[in-house]
């Protein structure tokens, strides 16, 4: 576990350089769906069209266009379906609102249940009090627990591993 965390930190250190052109191209390409594939972004796609689109993004970045301008350019040409994440407007905004709504409703439900179920410890229990039980019964419980712990199968002493 410690090795794990140290590894993550080392990787962090190695990768902590400023965003270069390739990273910018990747970030923008990741916001666009490849028009000729199914369910792949332009960043991921191996298609020729996606390669052309990445080259175009690179070209536009070199010319000094911003990420938003480049995405808007593709959105104009291909329509909303090019966007990998739905726009936060119109019907598509529902896609963004629903998760928030789901978590909110869930939180209300759990909050309500917690309130309804929370009850301070008190003498309301219907269980027998320990003082009222015979010594013999209590000893038996302790024996059974110890047996589970030590691993005997039963009193005949068969080994339970």
């Amino acid at each position: 576990m410690i090795v794990l965390v140290v590894t993550l930190l080392l990787t962090l250190g190695a990768a902590a350089t400023g965003p270069d052109l390739d990273a910018q191209v990747r970030a923008i390409a990741d916001r666009l769906m490849c028009p000729v594939c199914q369910g792949r972004t332009v960043a991921e796609s191996t298609s020729a069209l996606a390669a052309q689109m990445r080259a175009l993004i690179r070209e536009k970045l070199r010319r000094g266009e911003t990420a938003e301008e480049i995405v808007a350019y593709f959105r104009d040409r291909y329509g909303d379906t090019i966007l990998a994440a739905p726009p936060r407007e119109g019907l598509a905004a529902v896609a963004w609102a629903l998760p928030v709504l789901a978590v909110a409703i869930g939180t209300v439900i759990v909050g309500w249940l917690l309130r309804a179920w929370t009850r301070p410890p008190g003498p309301g229990s219907t269980l027998p009090r320990i003082g009222m039980l015979p010594e013999e019964a209590l000893r038996r419980v302790e024996e059974e627990v110890a047996r589970l712990e030590s691993g005997d199968v039963d009193r005949s002493g068969r080994d339970g591993g």
């Binding site: 993550l8 419980v141 339970g160």
Partner: protein, 706 residues
């Protein structure tokens, strides 16, 4: 042969319907003779389906081995096989196509049914007939599909000269294991579902059905999870886009039931320990099964067009009807039996293990809902507005990441808190070191220049890693003090004696290892594209690639071009990579299996896209850090599940009374363990232990009277 196969399927359908009816009669009337007849039906259905599948495999196999006349009259064979399909992958054609998948699915279900209700089990005598009836009814549905809608033995009117062949992407060893594992997961939830229904019908929503179905739930949950990891491994090695998880609808539809099942296996513990959440557990079982059916529906009907959807057909209406039945029936049953589900809902404090378990269930369900909605959203918008609004990977990443972090944090906090309530002193003692670790990791990450998102992930990962280490350490230390065992043996004894808990912690560790791999490979990926002439170089991070030329490799059904690339690691020669481009003329489809140089630190992932017009070679290269940890996590996930699910001879449940007895005794053990690990104050420990012992004594007393 085709006629025999179809006949056998009809016979199996009739037998299943008969058995389901007899099971219902036996459940209501408690008739031994009727039950025996229903049980016979279970075996007959399994035998018929097995023979059918066997016959089917032989049919397909004979073609592959070309021992038989090339009879491409069988529609399924013509669709999923060809003379060029390599023999080794003929079997893959079985789940590449619709009818084959359904037949395989039905076969798994019939085997599970035999194993669950084919023999008399004393602990579940009362529940078995009703469960049998439900299981055979499910089998009958699939058999109905196979006989009416998707006959695997359907004949073409005219034999064709050659089949269409197998989709080339499926020609990979990963495809021999990944789909069957997912199917095992999908089908596996049918058994807990059937027993939950039986428990509701017989008003026995107690420890017995839970203890018995725990193994089945774990099996389904594990196979689904392993199937998902293997699917990622397949995608990474075959698809050539540098990643392992694409938020593909088909992957999502397996992830959703897995998330719900994970909520379930945690929530079950609360019922066992505290007699709470009975209704939740039944609901979660129903949801897990219904979502599995939905997953099958989405996968098999081609409703969601994706790389996985190789099969499309007209079975959608049947599936919709079945799905409605699976949701409406149990809901009605739940409402009818609401009175029985009123459990002993007493929560002493929100800050307790049961409190975090509740929260955990909520967050898992939220995660499932989010993935499901994102997956279904395009269909909904298509119906509402006429256009498919795509939900791509970036959406899922943005929405899922915070939820996943929440789950990782709960995974750290939950086990640190005791049952019932947490005193302030205990809270400080338990959270101190994990919080220090989380803060330390976050500060280091920030100093090293990590983004806010990565720093947030680092806090949670550091915290939870420390929490898991602390649990093992304090558990072992407590054993050393109590039994005088040497420390290493105490550590092993934790895994042997408290298998469920410490096996579970191993799975937690596996999830954490996977999380580190995912964060590392998502946040710190480096990517380059280059078109190179022979001898030209491409720099990617620490690596330099030198292109050496291409050659053709003979292959039966594809044109394969191999590119040779020499790799320099910080200037030192580090071997040669040979990425390929396989072109399948029959499909007009190229496939780009990458060449991967994998180390623990990072993967160098090279894809050869082909030669451009002037003869230069086009490459895409990724450096993906820490991806190996994901596969390591998959292995650890398997190990942890094995430890947690390993049958314990000391705790074998023979009867319902035995299950209850184990539960009351186990509560005392848990208290001892928690106290030993410092999770309980002396005062709380005494009070709770007295209570638990009193309950156990009372129970053992009534047991003795019987």
């Amino acid at each position: 042969m085709p006629e025999v196969g179809a006949l056998a399927l009809w016979l199996a359908l009739l037998t299943a319907l008969y058995g389901a009816a007899m099971g219902a009669v036996a459940a209501v009337g408690r008739r031994e003779d009727v039950l025996a007849s229903a049980r016979a039906a279970v075996w007959v259905v399994a035998a018929l389906v097995t023979l059918n599948l066997g016959g089917f495999v032989v049919c397909v196999g004979l073609l592959a081995y070309a021992l038989y006349s090339h009879d491409f009259r069988l529609a399924f064979v013509a669709d999923n096989n060809s003379r060029e399909t390599p023999t080794f992958y003929t079997l893959v054609g079985l789940w590449g196509g619709q009818a084959g998948s359904l037949l395989f699915w039905t076969w798994l279900l019939s085997l599970y049914t035999v194993s669950a209700v084919g023999h008399r089990r004393p602990a579940l005598e009362e529940l078995q007939p009703a469960a049998l009836s439900v299981l055979l009814a499910i089998a009958a549905f699939f058999l109905l599909l196979l006989t009416i809608a998707e006959n695997p033995f359907a004949l073409l009117p005219e034999p064709v000269a050659d089949g269409r062949g197998l989709n080339p992407l499926l020609e990979d060893p990963g495809m021999l294991i990944h789909p069957p594992l997912l199917y095992m997961g999908f089908v596996g939830f049918a058994v807990p579902f059937a027993f939950a229904m039986a428990a509701l019908v017989h008003r026995r929503v107690d420890a017995a059905w839970l203890s018995y179905t725990r193994g089945w739930t774990l099996l389904a949950w594990y196979t689904l999870g392993a199937g998902l990891v293997l699917g990622g491994w397949w995608a990474y090695r075959v698809l050539g886009w540098g990643g392992y998880w694409g938020w593909d609808p088909v992957e999502n539809s397996a992830l959703v039931p897995w998330l719900v099942a994970t909520a379930l296996i945690h929530s079950v513990i609360v019922q066992e320990q505290r007699d709470m959440l009975k209704g939740w557990n039944v609901t979660l079982v129903v949801l897990a099964f219904a979502l599995s059916v939905l997953g099958a529906f989405l996968t098999r009907t081609g409703l969601l067009v994706s790389v996985h959807t190789f099969a499309q057909s007209g079975i959608a209406p049947y599936f919709l009807g079945f799905l409605a039945a699976v949701l409406v029936g149990p809901t009605a049953l739940l409402v009818w039996r609401l009175e029985d589900l009123r459990a002993r809902h007493e929560l002493e404090a929100v800050l307790s293990r049961e409190g975090t378990f509740l929260l955990n269930t909520l967050v898992f369900l939220a995660a499932a809902v989010v993935v499901l909605m994102g997956t279904l959203f395009p269909i909904v918008t298509e119906v509402v507005q006429g256009i498919r609004i795509l939900i791509g990977p970036p959406y899922f990443r943005q929405v899922f990441a915070p939820i996943a972090l929440g789950l990782l944090a709960l995974m750290g906090i939950g086990p640190l808190l005791p049952w019932r309530r947490t005193s302030r002193r205990v809270l400080v003692r338990q959270l101190r070191w994990p919080l220090v670790a989380g803060a330390g990791v976050a500060v280091s990450a920030t100093i090293l220049g990590a983004s806010a998102g990565v720093a947030a992930a680092a806090v949670v990962i550091g915290f939870t890693a420390a929490a898991i280490v602390q649990e093992f350490h304090r558990g072992a230390r407590s054993r050393v003090q109590r039994w005088g065992e040497p420390y290493p043996r105490a550590l092993l004894a934790l895994l042997g004696r408290q298998r469920r808990r410490y096996g579970g912690y191993l799975v937690h560790a596996a999830v954490l290892v996977i999380a580190v791999g995912v964060v590392g490979s998502q946040a710190f990926v480096t990517e380059r594209e280059g078109v190179l002439a022979t001898g030209e170089r491409l720099e990617v991070g620490r690596y330099t690639l030198i292109y050496r030329g291409t050659e053709q490799e003979p292959a039966p059904n594809a044109t394969v071009t191999i590119a040779a690339v020499d790799v320099l690691n910080e200037g030192h020669p580090a071997g040669r990579l040979t990425p390929r481009r396989r072109y399948y003329p029959r499909y007009n489809q190229p496939v780009y299996p990458p060449a991967i140089r994998s180390t623990w630190r990072e993967d160098l992932y090279v894809v050869f896209l082909g030669l451009v017009d002037d003869g230069r070679a086009s490459f895409r290269v990724w450096v993906n850090p820490l991806v190996r940890l994901i596969w390591l996590g998959g292995a650890l996930f398997t190990l942890g599940t094995l430890v947690a699910a390993w049958p314990d001879r000391r705790r074998r449940i023979r009867t319902a009374v035995e299950a209850r007895r184990q539960a009351v005794l186990q509560r005392i053990r848990e208290l001892d363990l928690d106290f030993g690990a410092g999770k309980l104050s002396e005062e709380d420990y005494r009070r709770l232990r007295d209570e638990a012992v009193a309950e156990a004594a009372a129970f053992l007393g009534t047991e003795a009277e019987r």
